[in-house]
Symmetry: C2
Subunit: 220 residues, 2 copies
DNA sequence: ATTACTAATTCACGAGTAA
DNA sequence: TTTACTCGTGAATTAGTAA
């Protein structure tokens, strides 16, 4: 957890300047002043962050442009989660309400890929049912629900036909059945729609139907 | 802001173990393992935190007991705030609803103390009206409202008669009138009750009465 | 202006160990 | 077992510059 200690405050400084969502101009002199180190150290520390893939940057005599990577943003989120749990232990959001929506079969397609099935088995210990349950939730509620959960990542991979992106996963449960909430990074989906993966079919085993209400619970 | 860089992760580790609200046993060996440093470094770093008054601790051959001070907790809250603003810029809570309650005149007593008046003038630039408006808010809402605001502190002081504790302050506004939300640390008050201080009387100038609704807005 | 190299320096770290 | 000291080493930092 604390291996990213040395990079954290640089990432935070970049995020403060908006580097989470876009590339920002950020000279090493400014960065140095904010952190209270020399320009030389700022330059070196930034390069260390790039080596660890926390940021992507381009720099030259015209200045530096920098943006946090997913991995870098993950560092900030992980610390945010720890802080939130420590500072406001009472306020952890333990459940998330949503509505079942139709997924047009992509869930089945993705869950048939060995690249994902293998990782789900390794990380979560079950053979995934070849299909997902798509759930629509309020995106702000989803955000704060997920902020309180430990995050795991399914890596992207390539097949002969195409390449598959990585996905963020969270252990949750529905009606006391453990399952995994998956947020694919690829394929811009509507805000607030997530996929649930389990060893079984939510529709067959638990009787969920389109437009039905569902409650997702945090586990652990 | 980043002067506490070196201590932050130690404070976070202590908070994870519950050291925010109570004294926790925490051997330097454990701490070292969590941070990925040697026992010797953990011991030294902990001592640095004590010197900076981020923690209070007692240690000896039987082990170490440690608890975060207000100042130490303030470090974690400040970082939490920065993270929250960067990660979820949309979600900042900008206003807080509450109900005016009767304060039995202690507000007038405190606001008559030169020790507080001087600090309010220095920090906020106004002569405080000798009285406060007590407001009752939902304590969870209050917590998340304040988490998004920069915090300032009025120091405690001594008079011939008694000693006065320190207080946490936040710049806010009510009906577009800038004022200061004060949370005294002393004198256990009911959860969710705060005091508003301004250059004027809320009751006379704005017509607030007991049990009336009030909305406090974040400024800046 | 910048960034970022190399060299000098410092100060943080951990080994050894006392209490 | 603890905690925490001293001290040698080297990684991290800054100064001085080049580009």
């Amino acid at each position: 957890m604390f291996f990213m200690r040395k990079s954290f405050f640089i990432l935070l400084a970049i995020a403060r300047h908006g580097g989470l969502s876009r590339s920002v101009s950020f000279s090493t002199v400014e960065l140095a002043a904010e952190l209270g180190v020399s320009q030389q150290s700022a330059s070196r520390l930034l390069r260390d962050c790039e080596r660890q893939e926390y940021v992507s940057k381009s720099s030259g005599p015209a200045g530096t442009k920098v943006q946090l990577t997913e991995k870098g943003a993950g560092v900030l989120k992980a610390v945010y989660r720890e802080l939130a749990l420590s500072l406001f232990p009472s306020q952890k959001k333990r459940s998330l309400g949503g509505v079942v929506v139709s997924g047009f079969g992509e869930g089945k397609y993705y869950m048939s890929q060995e690249g994902y099935r293998k990782q789900l088995l390794d990380k979560f210990g079950f053979e995934a049912f070849k299909g997902t349950l798509n759930v629509n939730a309020d995106s702000a509620e989803l955000e704060s629900f997920l902020a309180g959960l430990p995050e795991e990542t399914l890596s992207g991979f390539e097949t002969q036909e195409r390449s598959f992106g990585h996905a963020r996963c969270y252990r949750v449960s529905v009606r006391n059945q453990p399952c995994v909430l998956v947020l694919p990074s690829r394929g811009k989906r509507p805000d607030g729609v997530v996929e649930l993966v389990a060893s079984f079919s939510f529709r067959k085993k638990l009787g969920f139907v389109d437009n039905g209400k569902i409650t997702i619970e945090a586990t652990g």
